[in-house]
């Protein structure tokens, strides 16, 4: 494979797995520099990569990659980052580079079961951290698991992120309200606050800040909007259920 294609592929891995936009541009340019590709330049937005360079015969070469699926896998981002640094310091052969890249893109992430368990534990410990009782935390344990199962299930059928988060909010408040209406010792606010934590758009928020620092205003704004929309979606989901519940049962 051509080095230019590999450079863009490396950038694509970073962008698809939750890396910052400026890091993608930087990585592509560094790799091209290391392999002496002339006139290489790239323009990256959170949804696509545009790249142009000169090939060996001096012809113009351009590559466009549209990014459709985005997940969060910071391990892969970190691995590509290491690789681009390695290339900078000592030149490895293009074949070796391709092999490394393939290894990264095929590297395994945590299994679904582990993700479900850690989501429920996250909800459990955040509820305890925000002064919930142990009983509140146990309800959050269930909600946390349900949130992750919903996320895995919905992303399998290409449901958009906004809707996934609305459903997440709905699940959270329904389960919390059912338990709270049965057991008087539980406190609704502690349970909901603790268990929506796994939905918090941390990656979008931090990436938006870091892209803004690097002067990439387009990505900074888009990512800030993504974070705000996620928060709104959670609020909408939770709000609908609480409103309906108090309408039907006359109070929370």
């Amino acid at each position: 494979m051509n080095i230019s294609y590999m450079a863009v592929e490396a950038g694509k891995i970073i962008l698809e797995n939750g890396g910052e936009t400026y890091r993608v541009e930087e990585t592509i340019n560094l790799i091209c520099q290391a392999y002496n590709i002339k006139n290489a330049d790239s323009y990256v937005t959170p949804t696509g990569i545009m790249f142009s360079a000169e090939d060996e015969r001096g012809n113009n070469l351009s590559i466009i990659k549209r990014i459709k699926y985005r997940t969060i896998n910071l391990e892969k981002v970190s691995m590509v980052n290491d690789l681009s640094r390695k290339v900078q310091n000592k030149v490895i052969s293009p074949l070796e580079f391709e092999k490394e890249l393939e290894k990264i893109s095929n590297s395994r992430s945590y299994s679904n079961l582990v993700l479900v368990i850690s989501s429920s534990l996250a909800a459990f410990f955040f509820t305890l951290l925000f002064n919930g009782s142990i009983y509140d935390a146990l309800v959050s344990l269930i909600i946390g698991a349900m949130l992750r199962i919903n996320m895995n299930f919905s992303s399998k059928y290409d449901v958009n992120d906004f809707f996934i988060n609305v459903i997440g909010g709905i699940i959270t408040s329904i389960i919390a309200l059912i338990f709270c209406s049965q057991f008087k010792v539980l406190s609704l606010d502690k349970i909901i606050i603790g268990s929506i934590m796994p939905l918090v758009p941390g990656v979008a928020l931090i990436n938006s800040i870091r892209d803004t620092i690097e002067g990439d205003l387009v990505s900074g704004l888009t990512r800030a909007l993504e974070a705000a929309l996620t928060a709104l979606a959670i609020a909408v989901g939770t709000g609908i259920v609480i409103k309906l519940w108090s309408f039907i049962f006359g109070g929370i």
Partner: protein, 151 residues
């Protein structure tokens, strides 16, 4: 206090797994989460307001992230994202929503403003640390270039 540290540490650790962080990076990102909430708790107990505590802790986390990124050789985001999560004003968001639904708009406005301010403070302090670290990097680089030029 130790309770807060342990809860925050484990909560951030599980969050790191959700972000697919592995190995020693996972441990250090969770350590950042533990430290961040510990300091937040200490500052709140010492009588600082929620906003100024958030500001100081975010500065601390930003610095921690920049330092760890150079020690462990991993992107800064790996350490900052996990550590910032316990500070995110989820509670404020919930109470804002709750008071909007109960049509108590003055309380809703109060909580809404607080939540918004805390979110902005987090953003500003991370921006602040990031800009300073970039500035120091630039100074170092130009110093290196100067020393290379004088043979």
């Amino acid at each position: 206090m130790i309770k807060q540290f342990i809860f925050s540490f484990i909560a951030t650790l599980t969050f790191g797994i959700l972000f697919n962080i592995k190995g020693e990076k996972l441990f250090y990102s969770a350590l950042g989460g533990g430290i961040s909430y510990l300091f937040y708790y200490v500052l709140l107990s010492a009588g600082y307001s929620q906003i100024s505590s958030t500001f100081f802790v975010s500065i601390l986390i930003g610095t921690y992230g920049e330092v760890m990124a150079r020690v462990i050789k991993a992107p800064v985001t790996v350490f900052i994202i996990s550590a910032i999560i316990p500070l995110v004003p989820g509670g404020g968001l919930y109470y804002t929503l709750y008071y909007i639904i109960s049509e108590n708009y003055s309380e809703a406005l109060k909580y809404g403003m607080d939540t918004f301010q805390i979110a902005v403070i987090i953003v500003i302090s991370i921006l602040f640390v990031g800009t300073i670290s970039k500035f120091i990097n630039k100074i170092k680089k130009s110093a290196d270039a100067d020393s290379a030029r004088e043979p």
